[in-house]
Amino acid sequence: MNRLKSQIIKGLEQSLRFDGRKPFDWRKIEVEYGISKNAEGSARVKFGDTEVFAGIKMSIGKPYPDRPEEGALMVDAELSPMSSPEFETGPPDIKAIELARVVDRGIREAKTIDMKKLCLEKGEKAWMISIDVVTINDAGNLLDASSLAALAALKNTKIPRLEGNEVKYGELTDEALPLTKEPIAVTVLKIGNHFIVDPLVEEEEAFEAKLTVTTTDGIICAMQKGGDGVLTVGDIEKMIDIGMKKAEEIRKHLKGSK
């Protein structure tokens, strides 16, 4: 066991972490809406020093052939080299791809957006929604912060005016997106025999296994296990309970999307 890990475990035995938090404490969470006026919707989320931006761009396209009556959703994430000395320029690496896919699955599988309402003409014309997440500062737990930022940006979105097939960017209508659910992702880390949420960068270097649990209305809509270590069924049960309970605390920060 490396020194960092043994230090972290030593602290956790007394329910203490490097920044003074208890295992299940969040850092200060801040959600700010409308931070990019050219996006159809946008938000900035901070978990302590961790900071991410998310923005929505809408366009008109042809529905996918297997879903002719639905709009489409795309999620992209950039681990900007601005946000950590570990991140590099260049095409998205596997960490950025995983981040985008976990955010995507949470929103998609919870049926957050009523995709049928985004279809304007069956098989021909529908709204395409792009969610882009860009990290600004990585002080740990980019995943939960990114999921929350993506959802907050969706809540902040107003549909732009349409003239035929041309989107009149910058001319937003009063119409919000047809949102039905608010999925919240909570990542629970296992370090030694201890569980924690909202990890710091140091804790992300020392964990054995983690589970990201995305839930809405008491239902699990997406999960992702990470790390090189394994989990028992008992661990998973505990982690889901923690994830669901802690999600409700995050949800409180979502009020007032204006």
């Binding site: 006026k37 050219n38 996006a39 020093d49 998205p92 792009s130």
Partner: protein
Amino acid sequence: MAYPKRLDGRKFNETREIEAKAGVIKRADGSAMFRIGKTVAYAAVYGPRNLYPKFLQNPREGIVRVNYAMMPFSSKGERVRPGPSRRSKEISMVTEKALLPVLHLEEFPNAVVDVFIELPQTDAGTRCAGICAASIALADAGIPMKDLVAAVSVGRVDEQVLVDLNYDEEAFDGKVADVPLAVVQRTGHISLLQMDGEIEKGQLINAIKLGQETLKKVFEAQKKALKEKYHTEGGEE
């Protein structure tokens, strides 16, 4: 078509509202936010740090790499595809050249200083805002510097010479010239000069002089941002 009054009511030598802040990104060695009107730039500096692959290293002096990027949702029109474009690569390059003259590269041979610029919201003047943010971030990172650099676009709309064109002015239906300009504070020397549109020599020289004058205010904003950061930090400790 004459341009007697600016579309947003500014004076011809007046920039849009400016806001500058240093030390906004904790992981970075230095960082800054610079806003001019609706254009917002973040800059983060990492280094001097080791440069790999090794053949890129220069034993005489350090190198600076700039990476400029617009966030995909930052533009007035369609989504901007993430990743480098011809445009962003060129802007990265000219930004690098704009900053180079004030850096003491000989102080960190074999090493690299990385400057990352990201724009969450844009309304013309992005490369200039990026340079202003980067200059603050480099100073915040403690990179040895001779001076600050600031940048603003100057140019003409119809027969009028003016500073800091916004998007609507760039798109003005008439004769327009857009001249991004970076200036070194104490010498007034010019380290970035580009131009597109049409302009006569006399107008251009007038525009550049107007830019040099206007940038004095921008330098003040940059220095204020740096002082504020170190003032608060000193107060807390």
